[in-house]
Amino acid sequence: MSVKTLEIDGKAIAIEEGATILQAAKENGISIPTLCHLDGVSDVGACRLCLVEMEGSNKLLPACVTEVAEGMILHTKTPKLQNYQRMTVELLFAEGNHVCAVCVANGNCELQDMAITVGMDHSRFPYRFPDRPVDVSHEQFGIDHNRCILCTRCVRVCDEIEGAHVWDIAQRGEHCFIVSGLHQPWGEVDACTSCGKCVDACPTGAIFRKGSTTGEKERDRAKLEFLVTAREKRQWTR
């Protein structure tokens, strides 16, 4: 196995041939923002957040799909990259309907975290407010297209790991959406094994387990009764 040496953000790095810039950075504690990358499935280079600058080249390189090469001198945190990363995240927020306050993933969302990482305190781009549907036809899961950032992690995890290929992309450009089966309601797609890998892969609250949304809060009715008995009969245990 041959080894390549390179430099990322001033740090000298040696790594096996065939590794990506992202792997090299990660191994050496250098964080590069990503959204469409998911360990274990193929990379598509779509979110463009992991772009890095290479000395001697005026093209930005996607770290997730670019293999290391001998003598590369890379920068991951230049003002230009940071500006572009923030614009990218702003474009994502403006494109969908990302209302953190009413989202199942609030506090547990990679998009929300990414906004913090890139220092986005507001979007300079006007929100688009697209009219997007929610599909809760599946017994256990739901997909809210308002929150989808089209990272295609669900598509890849279902295809490459579960082997079911329930998901794919329909339409193009701004009209793109994640489609289940042959554009059927998710619950009617026979291929779905209900394995839940897409739920785990989804970076936002787009694909979720039912029962976890704000509107589906499980109500503990017995608690009221307990409180009443506790007060009236001084029974403090349930």
Partner: protein, 555 residues
């Protein structure tokens, strides 16, 4: 089939051809202007005038002057010229423009001494005279639906030459020496691409011809495919031999039904003659060509998206590297060139690289076909030597703007830019056009006059990119939407100075961060109009509705 057979076919065809050919364009443009009726009437008139023994009506491909179709050309065949058959009036080619079906009869009548009402065109006009035809040499002169006509003008001789007189390495070297660069727009050196594929380890390799021409206003490839399909087949076969591929695909967009139909016919005919398929020219070399039809996505003109589409997948681009030359169709080394690029191969092999390198400029060799459209007198297809200036094309060949002056010339479609009239003396070459913020592109050339709003132009192209973005990467999918909306604000006179700054920075971002060429080049029409017509953007700005205390905004 061997060389002797090929020559036999050519000779037989030359013998069969009648001394006078009345060529009637049957390509899409002229068809739309009822050229098929014209042709029927011509044929009937030949019959009626009793000229069937010495006159034949031939449905040919595009002659180029599409703005004034249907076009009819009466051609005394130089090779078969026979004094006894000579019509007294006929000393040179006769050329008619805008022929109405009713006028067709009189054109034939004129051959017999009558008078025709059809509008006579001038082949000495710069529109024709300034052209240098390499790829389109036989376009509009042969029947694209008969392989014999192609063979009669020397067709498939270059393939024979490559197969039997040259090694694959020599073919690649010849293409390299010619200086040919990709005609799809990018201008990548063709020889280098071929050499890369050729040097990949032997095994399954593919050749793909990119006929997914999609730029608004561009129809060069359609015309070549409709007019001379065998030229492309031969070029692809030579490419296959040179790089070690035995299977080729032509990817044509579904909007080109006539091109598809003619290609299908051409492939069948070539197979029948043993010029495609197995044991070509009785050698041990096989090469087959299949057609793949696009489903209406502009992005499929991008090579990696096109490859995915050929594979039967969704036409999404993927990051490069690996380049198709290393890992393309079904992960095999794949040579992918544009229609016009393949159209140059046969002439180069036939006439030699020195001949080809003698045409054009230092870094841009050969000719380029342009679809000249917009506010211009002479609309149509022209093939010009590289190095010709835009002014020569627009003012001399195109005849300038009908009533007014040229304001700008748009080249390169949605990926290109608007060149202001002040820069019309720029020579047409890959580097010089990039330098002034546009690009060669695939050959669309739209002329705009003083009445054109450049912000509207930018808005139009951005709308196109917005609709055609595949949606895979964020900058292109969401960035083009925001850019389009920003430009809409300008048109509605709602934009502020802050919007102008936002427009500029977002253009830069989309350009630098998009995944494929579509996104990377989508801002070009905006950037070039910002560069040359900044005042038009500024004129649309409006004062903000809010007041801010003078001391308010920090930095």
């Amino acid at each position: 089939m061997d060389l002797a057979n090929l020559i036999d076919v050519a000779t037989a065809e030359q013998m069969r051809q009648k001394p006078l050919r009345v060529n009637c364009c049957t390509s899409t443009g002229c068809r739309a202007a009822r050229s098929l009726e014209v042709m029927q009437n011509l044929e009937a008139a030949v019959e009626a005038e009793g000229l069937t023994d010495r006159v034949e009506v031939v449905g040919v491909g595009c002659m180029g002057f599409c703005g004034l179709g249907p076009l009819v050309q009466v051609e005394p065949s130089a090779t078969l010229y026979d004094e006894s058959h000579r019509s007294t009036a006929l000393v040179e080619d006769l050329f008619y423009e805008g022929v109405k079906p009713a006028e067709a009869t009189s054109i034939i009548g004129a051959l017999n001494g009558g008078v025709t009402t059809a509008l006579k065109g001038d082949l000495q006009h710069p529109f024709f005279a300034r052209q240098k035809k390499v790829v389109r040499e036989y376009s509009g002169r042969i029947d694209p639906e008969r392989i014999e006509e192609y063979i009669a003008v020397g067709g498939y001789r270059a393939l024979y030459k490559a197969l039997f007189e040259m090694t694959p390495e020599e073919v690649v070297a010849e293409i390299t020496k010619s200086g040919l660069r990709g005609r799809g727009g990018g201008g990548y050196p063709t020889g280098l691409k071929w050499a890369t594929v050729a040097k990949m380890p032997a095994g399954q390799k593919y050749v793909i011809c990119n006929g997914d021409e999609g730029d608004p206003g561009a129809f060069m490839d359609r015309s070549v495919l409709e007019s001379d399909p065998h030229l492309i087949l031969e070029g692809m076969a030579i490419a296959g031999y040179a790089v070690g591929a035995n299977h080729g695909f032509i990817y044509v967009r579904a909007e080109y039904p006539l091109a598809i139909q003619r290609l299908q016919k051409a492939i069948q005919q070539a197979k029948k003659y043993g010029l495609l398929g197995t044991q070509i020219f009785d050698s041990h070399w096989d090469f087959k060509i299949d057609i793949r039809i696009g489903a209406g996505a502009f992005v499929c003109g991008e090579e990696t998206a096109l490859i995915q589409s050929v594979e039967g997948g969704r036409g999404n681009p993927r990051p490069r590297p690996p380049y198709p030359a290393q890992s393309g169709l079904w992960q095999c080394p794949t040579l992918i060139n544009n229609v016009e690029t393949f159209g140059n191969i046969t002439p180069i092999v036939r006439n030699g690289s020195d001949w080809y390198a003698g045409i054009g400029t230092e870094k841009s060799k050969g000719t380029k076909i342009f679809a000249l459209t917009g506010k211009i007198r002479n609309n149509g297809l022209i093939e010009v030597p590289m190095g010709i200036t835009l002014r020569e094309i627009v003012e001399e060949m195109g005849g300038g703007v009908p009533d007014g002056t040229v304001k700008a010339v748009q080249t390169g479609g949605p990926s290109g830019g608007c060149i202001p009239a002040t820069l019309l003396d720029t020579p047409v070459a890959y580097d010089s056009l990039v330098e002034i913020g546009s690009m060669m592109g695939s050959g669309g050339m739209v002329v705009m006059d003083e009445s054109t709003s450049m912000v509207e132009v930018a808005h139009f192209y951005m709308e196109f990119c917005r609709e055609e973005s595949c949606g895979k990467c964020i900058p292109c999918r969401a960035g083009t939407v925001q850019l389009h909306e920003l430009l809409t604000r300008f048109l509605k006179k709602q934009a502020t100075k802050a919007d102008l700054e936002k427009l500029e920075s977002l253009c830069q971002m989309v350009k630098e961060t998009s995944l494929c060429g579509l996104g990377m080049s989508a801002p070009n029409p905006v950037l070039s109009t910002l560069r040359y017509f900044h005042e038009e953007y500024e004129a649309l700005l409006q004062a903000p509705i809010y007041a801010v205390p003078a001391y308010a905004v920090p930095d």
